[in-house]
Amino acid sequence: MSELDLNKKTSEMLAKSEANAAKAEKTFIRPEDEEREVVAPDGSIIKVNPIYDYFSNEKPKEEKPRGGVVEKFLNWARAESIWVLGFGTGCGSIEIPPLVTPRFDMFRYGVQMRPTPRQSNAFIISGYLSVKTLKRVIRTYEQMPSPKYILALGSCTINGGMYYDSYSTINRLDKYIPVDVYIAGCMPRPEALLHGFVKLKQLIKEGKAEKANEYARNFDEYKANQKKIIKDWNMPDYNW
């Protein structure tokens, strides 16, 4: 293919993707994420769908616990090693830093902060959750390896709290993601958060903290709720 042809082809495709982009405004997919054809350096034409290069579109599967003594032992290990994702979603995240200070010291309970969702198994939704943040929370939650636990901190996660009539925040968190432990208060003290961790450990040891499986089981319902409130849904339904 000559260079002239190649240029012509490229400009044709650009026009096509621009047309796609105009259409895409309705579905909130950015023009560079549109499904389109591109010309490779050797002149061949390949179809690309960038969104599926970044994410997987596979539904989560329910991972049944093994049961018996083995599962009990593993649950003990999970309970004694809670790695919390360092993602402060609302004003309540100000209650997390005191936990690493000498006064409260969460390390003695086996609780640590981790910087990446891949390595953490607990997620603190700290206080009010705006719709914009909810989108990030869903993406992050789905990237965490199962079994994973959610602690909802503050009244805002239970019924909206003082933001109950706000246009931009959600009122009930467990309509969108499953919650293991609620910590009520506005704001709860760090002691309350520590008590929440102790409660979570108790639930894990009893084998009752299986919300990741519940999320997989009721996946369609959760997705429908999420899509109802997130208007600019520009990601696949399940992002690993």
Binding site: A77, D105, F107, R108, G110, Q112, P115, R118, Q119, P145
Partner: protein, 305 residues
């Protein structure tokens, strides 16, 4: 000694090193916590973390090299163990000399780099931009550490006229005045300073500190892969300390001596880390190219003539 007995001893030694590495890591974190006035993690925490990590139910993959990264890292650690005499007792064929041979020093230097290169490939396939940044920083800093370290090691090799770690340890027996620390102080100083970078504590922990751009090369790793990397980290920390113990501090004649010496060597890097804040990558590279490099050069020049 038959090969099977040797293998059994080697496996036993590896298990001791792995568990000692985990205990040592926990102890150092405990010391750090006590410095900050906290209670700190329980001593059993590293084992529990390992158990939890290998028992995650879902796990993702990004391809073959993503699998191989942690495996390479573990091989780097086990390789350091396999080809290094650990405890100096019972002659060249003693139970704890492992599979060391004439010229193992060169192989050990290679294995130091091996895990890092494996992680570079694995983190690269992970595709996370922060992994790539982390590994670029890691390799840059490692190159800066290797230069003074290699110079000091060449100086020691010229001093004893051998590339065998066993012979270097043998030459240092008979009292602390025979240690390289006193017979070749410039090389020892270069190694002691370069050691800070090799053990990777603050101020040289920009590469993998959890509060720098995520956690560097390990950003995409989870579950069993992370468990692999934790075990590899425990082995590598002990074996790096043992390498420096063999080169500078006269080796060990028993496991007790090894544990005490490796603890003190590791504690040196933790102690410096407690006192000095983290360097930026350009600061740490410049630092290694100043004092340790000059000391390493001096050590070689002195033994050349």
């Amino acid at each position: 000694m038959s090969i099977y007995v040797k293998l059994a001893y080697t496996f036993l030694g590896l298990m001791i090193v792995l568990n000692w590495g985990m205990l040592m890591g926990a102890t150092m974190r405990k010391i750090g916590a006590r410095m900050a006035g906290r209670h700190g993690i329980p001593f059993r925490q590293p084992w529990i973390n390992l158990l939890k990590n290998i028992s995650t139910r879902t796990i993702i993959t990004h391809g073959v090299m993503y699998y191989m990264g942690p495996v390479f890292r573990l091989v780097g650690g086990v390789g350091l163990f396999l080809f290094m005499p650990v405890v100096f007792s019972g002659g060249v064929d003693g139970p704890w000399t492992n599979f060391s041979f004439q010229g193992d020093l060169v192989l050990i230097l290679y294995f130091q780099m091996f895990g890092m290169l494996g992680m570079a490939l694995g983190a690269g396939q992970g595709g996370h931009p922060y992994s790539a940044m982390g590994i670029a920083r890691g390799l840059a800093q490692h190159a800066a550490v290797e230069l003074p370290l290699t110079m000091a090691i060449i100086s020691i090799a010229i001093q004893f006229d051998t590339l065998s770690i066993y012979k270097i340890v043998e030459a240092q027996q008979g009292g602390f005045q025979n240690w390289v620390l006193f017979t070749n102080p410039f090389a020892a100083a270069a190694i002691i300073l370069a050691m800070l970078g090799a053990l990777g504590h603050s101020p040289f922990n920009l590469v993998k500190a959890p509060n720098e751009i995520l956690i560097g090369p390990a950003t995409e790793y989870e579950g069993t892969y992370l468990g692999f990397m934790q075990s590899a980290g425990a082995i590598i920390h002990v074996m790096e300390a043992v390498l420096f113990m063999n080169l500078v501090f006269g080796g060990a004649t028993s496991w007790i001596e090894l544990i005490v010496k490796s603890f003190l060597i590791y504690f040196w890097s933790v102690f410096v880390g407690m006192v000095f804040p983290r360097f930026k990558i350009e600061q740490s590279i410049t630092w290694f190219f100043k004092v340790p490099l000059v000391l390493g050069l001096l050590a070689i020049i002195i033994y050349m003539f």
